[in-house]
Amino acid sequence: METVVAGIKSSFKNIYTGVWDFINLLIARSLRPEELKRSTLTALWFMFLTFPILVIKVNTVDNVINWYWARVVYLGVTVYFVSFFWRYFLEVKEHGIKAALDADPVDTSIADGLTDNGQMGALSARLMANKKFKTALGISLCAFAVAFPFMFSMYQTNIMTNALMYIVLGLGLNIVVGLAGLLDLGYVAFYAVGAYCYALLNLHFGLGFWAVLPIGAVLGATCGLILGFPVLRLRGDYLAIVTLGFGEIIRLVLQNWNEFSHGPSGIANIPRPGFFGIDLSLKSSIIYMYFIMIGLCLLTIFVVNRLQHSRIGRAWVALREDEIACQAMGIDKTKIKLTAFALGATWAGMVGVVFAAKSTFINPESFTFMESAIILMIVVLGGMGTIVGVIIGAFMVILTPEYLRGIGEYRMLIFGATMVIMMVFRPQGIITSVRQKYKIMKDKT
């Protein structure tokens, strides 16, 4: 026992000296004359660049101009430091940490851990390989999920339900973007299809939530096929634009076709899901909704995980990696792309139904391009092609603005910046996708 404690102590000490060493080297780098010069110049450039828009605010009604001088100073200081880290990380990415720091940190694994899957990655991999740890983690997560609505307020539960919806949306889009490599910017259209499907079927035929849920899924898949079919021949970036166009067309039609969709005023009084014919209070229906989403989430994770590690999932990844080689290896590109579109859209259709039932009111404003961008953000941030990544991404994207109130207004600004930063420094996302390792029956022919 004592040796274990000593071991932990010494490893902590190692980490401590390692981090200290690393910080010292970073400071040394930042004090290089060239670095100082470049940071200063960048800061000045950005102060010039943002000057008119940040500083001068015109009130055209009263004909007065307000000057916000402080803003440009804050920006200059921020840019000064950001530019230093920007250059540092770019250099690490291109030439490795040794070149960037111009020295060998005592323990590079510390620095690696801060930048890439060094020690941290290895540690988590070792922990995840441990069966006991995995079960313990799973059980405690389940317990927490079940207890959540009883531990926290209704408001919190509602937010959590929201996050769960985005997990499912993210996992659905992940099939199309992360696995099959098809950039779909109109994903929100399928979400809209699901939501309007429930609202209209309920309005005209009085169908209930549970009856429409599978209909929404099937309708989503069908729309995925309908959209998928014409765009099959298109290359990556054209595909992105066409799907964006489709998404906007659907929204604009919903907005203008009053007889069908009730136009911009939307559809109100959509019933919440029924619970064996019992009328639920608002509080219990929020909790009920939460558990429906937990169920849907587990189902999605299960299905997507199975798909990912199947013959079809492999074909998607092959398609993403190299379309021509994929075809030359006997994979029917058409079929596999359509499968990806349809299976991705299925989840959006289902969550659309849930969304309509949860908010009891829908209008076309909920289905703008920005919504597609947020779902894409979840996939990009968390890690394309990984389930855990998408879950973490959804929590970060949906929960951070809720809990850090100050962020609210800056939410989309931060998303935009994060998208750029992720693509430049870590295109694989927070969680790197790891290929499955196969067990081979030795020498069996």
Binding site: P52, V58, K93, G245, I324, M423
Partner: protein, 300 residues
């Protein structure tokens, strides 16, 4: 007939503005094969800068012509600076990355810029001063053509001629064409690729800013979101004409302008944007190489 003429002229004006933006898309795509999603935002920023400068100058009581000139020049300079910076930050580090990475980065940049302007300025529509004076010689025809429309047509024509000459006859124009054809080869014969790319962004951004100033004073109001729709439409125009081709961008823009104008005039004005998006979808599906583009076989 008069109605037709009105729509025709309206379409021509619209098309000219699209052309000014579409040029940036087409040039950038021609050189680095990237849909510069943030390009529409440059156009929006150009309009905002012009508004800010014009408002400040108005308070100092300058005359209209000099306000127009100074505001346009400042807008163009700033747009070029933004274009240059965006390329350095969001695209240059991704030259060797898989195709989707710069595209996602571009979408991020577009969202970032929109919200930056939305937060720093305002998210509401703001009125844009009419910078373009009423020309006396147009007075007899003022029922047919407004001064601002006239100005848009003339400016677009001048910009087109200027660009064509620049690309055909100058050294940097030749370097641009060479880079568009084969980046590796251009590099081997001593062309500084980074400079050519930067220059392309500067050129495209400047023309977009001109478009921004013109349309803003024609319509009379702007907000932080105008770049998104205009950007997609201009991209549609560029693809329609054959992306990478400069005459194609102009032709595509005019066709798109007329389509929108006649469709809203004769069919329904509710679906204005739907017509443009439908055209985009149809073109990309049935004739992705566009009207003037060459069809290319993918190299294996």
């Amino acid at each position: 007939m008069e109605y037709f003429l009105d729509l025709f002229l309206g379409g021509l004006t619209r098309g000219s503005i699209y052309a000014l933006i579409a040029l940036g898309y087409t040039m950038v795509y021609g050189i680095i094969e990237l849909i510069n999603f943030a390009h529409g935002e440059i156009y929006m920023i150009g309009a905002f800068i012009a508004l800010i400068v014009a408002s400040v100058l108005t308070m100092y009581g300058l005359n209209m012509i000099s306000i127009l000139l100074i505001a346009s020049i400042v807008a163009v300079i700033y747009a070029a600076a933004y274009g240059l910076t965006i390329e350095k930050i969001a695209y240059k580090p991704l030259r060797k990355a898989p195709r989707l990475s710069p595209l996602i980065s571009a979408i991020g940049m577009s969202i970032l810029l929109q919200n930056y302007v939305g937060i720093a300025q305002t998210k509401d529509f703001i009125p844009f001063p009419n910078l373009i004076p009423e020309f006396a010689f147009l007075a007899p025809y003022k029922d047919t053509i407004r001064s601002s429309e006239f100005m848009i047509l003339i400016t677009t024509a001048i910009v087109m001629v200027f660009l064509t000459l620049l690309i055909k006859f100058t050294k940097i124009g030749k370097a641009m064409r060479a880079t568009a054809q084969d980046k590796q080869m251009a590099m081997l014969v001593g062309i500084d690729i980074n400079r050519v790319i930067s220059f392309t962004f500067v050129l495209g951004s400047s023309t977009a800013a001109i478009g921004g100033v013109l349309i803003a004073s024609h319509i009379g109001q702007i907000n932080f979101y105008i770049g998104f729709i205009a950007g997609i439409k201009a991209f549609t125009a560029a693809v329609l004409g054959g992306i990478g081709s400069i005459p194609g961008a102009v032709l595509g823009s005019l066709v798109l302008g007329w389509t929108e104008s006649f469709a809203t005039g004769y069919i329904s004005s509710d679906y204005e944007d739907v017509f443009a998006f439908s055209l985009l979808v149809l073109i990309l599906i049935f004739k992705p190489e566009g009207l003037l583009g060459k069809s290319t076989t993918q190299k294996v």
